[in-house]
Structure formats: structure tokens, C-alpha cells
Symmetry: C2
Subunit: 305 residues, 2 copies
Amino acid sequence: MDLIQKSLLQQVAGLHDVPEGAYNIRVNGQLDSRNTTANIDIVTKEDKPGIDIIIKPGTKNESVHIPVLLSKSGLQDMVYNDFYIGEDCDVTIVAGCGIHNCGVDTSKHDGIHTFYIGKNAKVKYIERHYGEGDGNGENIMNPETIVHLEEGASMEMETTQIKGIDSTVRKTGGDLKDNASLEIREKIMTHGKQYAKTDFVVDLNGKGCSANVVSRSVARDQSRQEFFSTINGNNECKGHSECDAIIMDSASVSASPKLTANNIDANLIHEAAIGKIAGEQLVKLMTLGLTEAEAEEQIINGFLK
Amino acid sequence: MDLIQKSLLQQVAGLHDVPEGAYNIRVNGQLDSRNTTANIDIVTKEDKPGIDIIIKPGTKNESVHIPVLLSKSGLQDMVYNDFYIGEDCDVTIVAGCGIHNCGVDTSKHDGIHTFYIGKNAKVKYIERHYGEGDGNGENIMNPETIVHLEEGASMEMETTQIKGIDSTVRKTGGDLKDNASLEIREKIMTHGKQYAKTDFVVDLNGKGCSANVVSRSVARDQSRQEFFSTINGNNECKGHSECDAIIMDSASVSASPKLTANNIDANLIHEAAIGKIAGEQLVKLMTLGLTEAEAEEQIINGFLK
């Protein structure tokens, strides 16, 4: 990896170098390096681009990193990654894509991640999307995540897109069996003329299952954001969706959560709020000696933390 | 009017007999009676079924009643009513439709009400929908309300559908100029195999304008309800939407509010909750001596009050 790629790696995976444990690093559409462990196998797919990540039942406190880095302008990459997580696992998976585009062509990465999470397994899934470059070429990412949760399984998903992605459509789908739980926390910031669309669909099929979708976003400049979330309560279940957005400059934000209760014991709630940074908050920080821009920055960082 | 029609009139307009002030009573697709006043004129449309209600600028503390009654089975009625409300008015308008259907045919009433509300005028608009009969013929009502609010104008709309409507699609649209305000309170109860769809679209175009949409509904038996609301904040404005639903038996309820902020000074919030009657509430009332059915009834009445 060159310096640019190492810097991207740090942005998307928080890593200075190759990680501990299992990993698969994809650079410019090719396998760069891979490590497997006694409990975690990674196998290249034969019918299409992508990998299978197979984690043995009962695997605890292990992690898998699968970052994707694009440093050539104009590269179009598409991968299918499937995760088979055995019963009673407790693992952390870190995915993400970093694009460095110093050219005039569009760089694009589409990834479809499908999770099959076994009974009583716990998964923490962290996903970061980051772009950089001189702004002449477009950076596009369309991540799709599908999560199948067996009885008692749980997943905590943290998905972040902070900078440099010109256009993104982010789809996340989940279906839950008895006592399964899904927690999704999304953070998005858009600037310039960027466009971001988020679409969550969660089917609460099992008895006692629950989902919590929390999205926080900041839209600056002329950027546009659309947020959709659909929670279907088909059994005794709990669903909660929350979308808070800060709007700045000439940006626009739209939030469309949808709740459907098909069972008398479904308990569904959503909340959303869109507004600008409160004037009092700014004034307070400015009386402490910050400039207006610094005060805004501090409030936004706190909001997205 | 016969006894059935008088009873319908009471259900939809709270009237025992013809009202005070201006009124237009439509029975079985025909004009039954009409009264105008010095300030309020009612004119039959010549190009299509319906009436124009014209209220002089500055008219205060006057009311107009325009109930529609259908007591013949199988009647299909469609009216266009336009309301021209002058500047600085302060008036109450009571509309509504009652269907008594003792037959096997479908009775249907569609009404499109358009309001042109002048500067600084205040309108209170009350609308009730009610059906009854032996259950062999279907009762269908599709009310559509469009509200244009000039600078500083305000409308408070109360719309209620408590019983006996088998199928309804209720559309309400509003556009607001500077400092205008729109408050909508909706109450719906469905039972049996009824279907109710509600669709609000409000454009907050003026500086300092505001909208508040509050929907409370109860879905019993196998009934289905869908709630849509769209609030577009296109200026410095405030928008709030709230949808609370109680689900019972095998009913299903879906809530899809949508907020769009196209201006940095738009302040938009929505909330929704769908769930069944809390067990503790029922138990509390039952320890006070009520049966379960009585306790449910009391909770529902309180919720829809």
C-alpha cells in the first residue's frame, strides 16, 4: 500500500497498518491482502466479485476488517460480501470504503453485504464511508446491507458517512425472528452539491423482537438528503425510529419514516425533527470566545458524536 | 325532513332542527333548504353540482351549516363546494355528511371543499362523517379539502369520522402565505372490515407561517387505516405533525408522515406512536368495577375526545 492508501485505510477503518485478526483488504478492485484465523475463514466468491466470511459457532471476542480502498480515478467497483455468523458468536466486523479521486472521472463503489446471523449470536458491525480528492471527479457509493437475524440474535450497526461522497443511496434491510434485536445508528454529513438517500426497511416478524433506528444528519451548502425508514410490526414487538437533522446554508432535508402495525401487540414509535442550529447555542459559544464558524463546528461535532 | 334524516342531521351537525344563521341542507342529492344572511351568500353552481359560499369581508361571529344527508340506499352523490371568505372575517363553518343505508346497494358521497381565506380572516371548520344502516349496503365517503390561506389568515379544522363508513379516502391540502396558520385535528375510528386512508399535504410557503396536524385514531376488528402527512417547509416556518393510534383485535394501522425542509429557517417536527391500550390502564379501571369492555370503551372515548 502507498501513503495515500494507508491514509484512506485510517479514515475508513481507524487502522495505521494491517489489523489484528482476520482481514481482507481490497485495493483498486483487487485483493491486496488477507488473513484468516482458526475461527474465521474468508473465501473468494467464484461466481461474482466478493467474499464469503464464515465465522464458526461460539467464536467470541474476535474481529474481521474488510476495508475497500480506491485510489485510481474512474474505477467502478462492485462487490457482494456474505457473512455467515454461527450460533452464540460475539464478534466485531469493520467494513468501509475510502475513495481518493484526483482525476476527472467518476469513482464508484457499490457493495452488497448480506448477514446470516445464527441463534443468540451478537454482532457489532461498523461501516464508514469516506471520499477525498481534488473535486473534479465524482465519488459515488451505494452500500446495501441485508441482515437476517435468527432467534435471540442481535446486531448493532454503526454507519457513518462524514465527507467527500458526492452521491449515495444507502439501503438497509432486516428481518428478525423471536427475541432478536437490531440497533442501527447512522451519521451523515453532506456538503457542496452532494446527495444522500437512506432507506431502512425492517420486518419485525418474531415474538419479542425489537428494532431501533437512529439517524443524525447534517446538510450543508446546497446538499440534499432524503431519509426513509419503514418498520413493520408483524408480531409482539417493539420498534423505534428517530431522525434528527441539522440544516444549514441552502441545503434541503426530507424525512419519511413509516410505521405499520399488523399485530395488536406491536408497539411502534417514531420521531423526527429538522431545524437549524439554535441561535442561543451559537451565541453562548461565541461569548466564550469562539468565532461563529468555530461555534458551528463544535455544535455539529457534538451532534454527530 | 323525516325522522331518519333529522337523526342524521343531529349526528353530523349537532342540530335538532334547522340551524341559526346561514345554511344549506342537501338531502338525497337535492337541495332541501337554504338560508342566507346579510353577510353570507350561498349560490348554486351552474356548471357542476355544489354551491359557492361567499362571506363578506369583516363578517364576525357568524356561522354556516352545510350538512349533506343520504337516506336512500344506492345513491351516489358528488359535490363541489367553494368557500370565499373575505378579509378580517371570524366565522364558523360546519359541514358533514350522514348516510343511512338500509339496503344492499353502495351509498357514496364525495365532496371537494375549497377554501379561499382572505387576509387576517379566522375560520373554524368542523366536519363530521357518519354512517348507519343494516350493514348490507356499503357506505363510502371521500372528502377532499383544499385550503388557501392569505397573509395572516388562520384556519382551525376539526374532522371526525366515528362510525359506519366502510371506506374513506380523506385528502386535505393547504398552502399558507406569510404569518398564516393551519391547525388540523382529526379523529377516526374504524371497525368491522372498514378501510380509512388519510392524506395531508401542507405547503408552508409564507414567512412566519405554521401548521399543526394532529391525528388520533382507533382501529378495531379487522379494519385497516393508513395515515400520510407531508409538510413542506419552504420559508421561515414551523410545522408539527403527530399521529397516535390505538390498535385493537386484528386491525392494522400504518403511519407515514413526511417532513421536507427546503429552507434553513424551517423548523419541522413529527411524532407517531401505534400501540394497544396499556394493560395497567385497563386493570386500574377494572378494579374500580368496570368490565373489560367498559374499561376499553372509557379509554377510547378519552383518547378520541
